[in-house]
């Protein structure tokens, strides 16, 4: 009697287990960007397993490809890169080592970009790879990731579309909040001086004039003449505050505040997600915008 009851129950459980294993974790994504790790996780939902190789709080400019990370990338279906030159130091080795079945997607390279540097009065003329500092660019990146997942796994296309739509709604709400917060700051006071040149997209989208101590990467040390010119510019433009970054040494910034009379406005997440407020993209952007507006008001 007991056996008669248990046998059908066992069959049902076995069927459910098999059905469930077919529906979950079919696609493996390895991500070299903290922001893209979040985007892939949000769009992929339960169907996708994301392995973040560049961790929150880690400086992506200083990242070095490790054998363990290479193995994780090799075992993936999709490898996500920031693009726009961010991974140049190891991209060739990565591409050479990956099997042909692994799709490598440099998401930033799919975005239109700025064309030319915007608003930076001092500094070099190269393309800014920090596209995630504009919410509109992250919205476009979400579309790119969604399309890549559908290409790889059309069976779950409806899930990816629904997940992407929900995430895009959250991003649009974030963008409206940012615009309202920044509207508290007169447009002629929107002068943003940061540790490195990571805010060109932010400046273009929200009407800021920008300058930075270091260049587009954190590996470039600032020259004495550049720091001197920057101090003069801060005085001339009457910049109220300059901003530190969570992954960089504040020594030069503190010295500049001594010479220029500007104050330290706070610490920004420039290179992607980090600890604390910056654990999510929405949290990171809210932190950055509140810090900037409150210090420059």
């Amino acid at each position: 009697m007991l056996l008669r009851l248990v046998s059908p129950l066992f069959c049902v459980l076995l069927y459910l287990a098999l059905f469930t294993s077919q529906g979950v974790a079919q696609i493996k994504v390895a991500s070299f960007s903290t922001v893209l790790s979040e985007v892939a996780g949000q769009v992929g939902g339960k169907v996708v397993v994301v392995t973040p190789l560049v961790k929150p709080g880690q400086d992506p400019h200083e990242y070095q490809l490790t054998p363990g990370d290479l193995t994780a990338a090799t075992n993936s279906n999709l490898v996500l890169l920031s693009g726009k030159g961010m991974e140049n130091s190891y991209l060739e080795n990565l591409r050479d080592a990956l099997p042909k079945g692994v799709e490598v997607l440099a998401v930033g390279d799919q975005l239109p970009g700025l064309g030319k540097p915007s608003g930076n009065t001092i500094g070099e003329k190269a393309e800014d790879p920090h596209w995630w500092n504009s919410v509109s660019e992250v919205e476009r990146a979400t579309d790119v990731v969604r399309d890549a997942l559908i290409r790889l796994d059309s069976e779950h296309a409806a899930d990816y579309r629904a997940n992407a739509k929900a995430y895009l709604t959250a991003l649009q709400e974030l963008n409206l909040w940012i615009k309202r917060k920044i509207a508290e700051l007169p447009r002629d006071q929107r002068k943003l001086v940061t540790s490195h040149d990571a805010f060109q997209y932010f400046a273009k989208e929200y009407g800021f004039q920008i300058d930075s101590i270091e260049g587009l990467t954190t590996e470039q040390e600032p020259s004495v003449s550049h720091v001197s010119a920057l101090i003069d510019e801060i005085k001339k433009q009457q910049v109220k505050a300059i901003f530190l970054e969570n992954t960089l040494n504040p020594k030069v910034s503190v010295e500049i505040t001594r010479e220029s009379g500007a104050k330290i406005g706070g610490t920004l997440y420039a290179d992607g997600l980090g600890p604390g407020d910056g654990a999510t993209y929405v949290g990171m952007m809210r932190h950055n915008v509140s810090t900037i507006v409150d210090a420059l008001k």
């Binding site: 409206l176 007169p186 447009r187 009407g207």
Partner: protein, 139 residues
């Protein structure tokens, strides 16, 4: 060495006194660079705000730099108001919130006459509700 030591000492003191002024000029910090630049506040400009909508009645609020410039329950489709605000060459951002009784598609045109008399216009669209930030800047 020729000459008396006291005389030499006096000569050294005289030479040092002569050098004092140019040395001071060369070594002191330029005071002008340390003086903070004087902020010249531009006086508020006279600006004409105009609204035109496709449906009435509607309620709206226009906020500038965190303060409400204009808020009304309106029953007519076209309204205007004169305000005095700072209008730098970088432009101004107005936060616009409006609601209608209808859930149909509505449009709200916001016009701003800039200080030099140029009329700048922006149109927002929504379904019963609009909430956005619009920038007015002379190109």
């Amino acid at each position: 060495m020729r000459g008396s030591p006291p005389l030499q000492a006096v000569l050294v003191v005289i030479v040092l006194l002569f050098l004092l002024f140019p040395l001071r000029r060369l070594t002191e910090r330029v005071v002008a660079n340390q003086t903070p630049a004087v902020t010249i506040q531009k006086p508020p400009e006279h600006v004409r705000l105009s609204l035109k909508t496709t449906a009435t009645p509607f309620r709206f609020q226009i906020t500038f730099l965190g303060r409400t410039l204009w808020a009304e329950n309106a029953t007519i489709p076209e309204l205007g108001k004169d305000v005095n605000i700072e209008f730098p060459k970088e432009g101004i951002d107005l936060v616009v919130d409006a609601t209608w009784d209808t859930q149909a598609v509505v449009a709200l045109q916001i016009s701003v006459s800039s200080p030099d008399g140029t009329s700048l216009e922006k149109t927002l669209w929504g379904r019963g509700k609009i909430s956005d930030v619009v920038t007015f800047k002379e190109e």
